[in-house]
């Protein structure tokens, strides 16, 4: 059966207008988030003498780059109405596959290609399970999280993989000159992927379809959208982007540990949610996820710089997650 051709903005001005309003709405939402971020930066700059140094800023940027990149993929999945719990395991796995090949003497591009390829396949498998067998995304990716983690332990026998070549580590540890600053490579890669995902979600038909499927799957399928295909692509991209994050993290540390990125899936999801991406789907954008990841990392950074007791830090982080989302919801109601 040939489905109806999905409509484009030109063919359906009413829908286009609605999208326009949605975009404006999202911009407002971004403004609130940016304001929260700015407030944190100002307070920290005034209360510590170290926060606003280039070293610290780039340190923070590097540290959240891999969470942010994985969070872009997570955002696509959440916008399409799903959730990807296997992101943390995928981050560890891409690093381990790449590191193991590097240690065997395989060249850098090929090793990275294999690491990314495998997480792309894992993402695709997630997508297939969800679109073909109708498994709930929570269950499918929960199972996958465990399967992939098991492979991490099994293939390394519990030992971290070390002794990676400098040419690979450079990817995570080099800083590139950019005007007067020396910007870490992972941060630059993060910005590149943010732009790519923004284009995908905002400027392509697939992007419109992703919002449509997440907003109302039944309506989307009636409109002739291949909902299964959209979900498949969303999960595949999530796997791939988690893989990218994992490889950058491995390059930065120079070691691929089977326990790496344990529990990161929650940080990745939290970054997206703080960034205004609704867990019910169909809402939010990639810049929100970027700011969400930044807020989380700056908070962690602040707690250390301010000498906040380590024992109380999880409580502070939890309070900020809830606070950020509540401010966002309050703003929505008040407008």
């Amino acid at each position: 059966m040939e489905p109806d051709k999905p409509f484009s903005p030109e063919e359906d001005p009413a829908r286009f207008q609605k999208e326009g309003a949605l975009t404006r709405f999202a911009r407002n939402q971004l403004a609130t988030l940016a304001l929260i971020l700015l407030a944190m930066v100002v307070v920290l700059s005034l209360s510590t003498r170290t926060f606003l140094t280039a070293t610290n800023i780039f340190n923070v940027l590097r540290a959240f780059s891999w969470i942010a990149i994985a969070s872009f993929g997570q955002s696509i999945v959440i916008i399409s109405g799903g959730i990807d719990l296997s992101a943390g395991s995928n981050m560890a796995f891409s690093g381990i596959i790449t590191a193991m090949l590097l240690v065997e003497g395989v060249n850098v591009p090929l090793s990275i290609g294999a690491g990314l390829g495998i997480t792309l396949l894992i993402g695709f498998a997630n997508g297939l399970m969800i679109s073909k067998t109708k498994l709930p995304p929570f269950i499918a990716t929960l199972g996958m999280m465990s399967i992939v983690r098991g492979f991490c332990y099994g293939m390394t026998q519990g030992w971290p993989v070390r002794g990676l070549p400098r040419s690979f580590i450079a990817l995570g540890q080099t800083d590139l000159s950019f005007f007067i600053w020396r910007v870490p490579v992972p941060a630059i890669i993060m910005v590149c992927f943010a732009v790519l995902v923004y284009i995908l979600l905002d400027k392509t038909k697939l992007g419109y379809h992703t919002y449509a499927v997440g907003g109302n799957e039944y309506a989307a399928s009636l409109a002739g959208i291949f909902t299964g295909k959209v979900k498949n692509i969303a999960f595949t991209l999530s796997g791939f982007l988690a893989g990218v994050g994992g490889i950058l993290m491995t390059a930065r540390l120079g070691v691929a540990a089977p326990t790496a990125a344990s529990g990161y899936e929650l940080d990745i999801i939290a970054a997206a949610v703080i960034g205004g991406i609704s867990l019910t789907g169909g809402e939010g954008n990639v810049w929100g996820a970027l700011i969400g990841a930044a807020i989380m990392q700056i908070l962690r950074n602040a707690l250390v710089l301010l000498g906040f007791p380590a024992y109380w830090q999880p409580a502070a982080i939890g309070a900020v997650i809830i606070g950020a989302v509540m401010i966002d919801m309050y703003r929505k109601k008040s407008i």
């Binding site: 070293t55 332990y153 070390r162 990676l164 326990t259 962690r300 950074n301 710089l305």
Partner: protein, 340 residues
Amino acid sequence: MHKTLRITVFLTAVVFLLGVLLAGGVFAQEQTLTFAWIPKALDNPVFELGRDGAFVKAQELTETTDYTVEIIYIGSVASDAAEQSRVVEDVIARGVDGIGISCNDPDALIDVINKAVEAGIPVMTWDSDAPDSERFTYLGVSNYDGGVAAAELLVRFMGEEGDVALLTGVPGAFNLEERIRGFRDGVADYPGIEIVTTVACYDDIATGVQVVEETMLAYPDLDGWFFVGLWPLFADRGSMPLWEEAAASGDMKVVAFDTLPVQLEYMKDGLLVGLVGQKYWGWGYDTIQMLFDYIVHDAAFPDWTDSGMDIVTMYNVDAMIEAWETSDFTKPLPPPFPED
């Protein structure tokens, strides 16, 4: 007719199977000793070293005695007391001759340990104890004493005054808290030493690297570090530039728990001055010997068997590196301070 034939075949099969099982059981009882060696988790490399020690001892005993000693290496993937209890129950059901276990929780494992003992399987604990259970002994170190030893090492290299930072894993983990308590008591005699901050990395390498660098930014004039575990040291050179620079300059002294090869490399490069380590290899090697002696020779053990600690400094680091390279930890380590 058909039915009778089927029943006959079925009964024959059952008898045959039972015969094999019984014969196997009798055979096993006479010749083979099977020990279950259960770590806290399968995701921690130090336990792999203990496992290797256990297998080496099993091999030695098989070659030098009338017994064939077999090791079952089994555990929960992550540190989890409930999951570990299930593993112990499985091992009891399977039937082994002895169990050596590192408990995830001092209380949660009491019930299953006592069940094993009731079933006639002697149990001993290593590394992490369940003191109120029926285990016959505990092989381990006092983490508190380890913390005190770390403090002594730091004072020796850093002097009697300075600002010190602590890096821990998961706040509240009993062994880590004990080490910290020991360390605090160890430096309490020196009013010039101030612990300026304690940061936590939640057992995550990336977080460890991050918080160490952040601490270096917040306290650029730090004189000393105590890493309560080795987390950020798993990362390769270049991942903590600020820390490395300060440590290499000699103005900041770093002591750490554990004595893994990655740390020995850092020590060779002058970035770490002192290490306090448990005898991981002995966790397996000595435990299997003790289980064997307990069962075969009816040996008696005290409630707590001190496994001792390895103190590694630049004076004996080479011997430790050699032990790792040859996988032979049976030779005693030279003294950490030869002039004493």
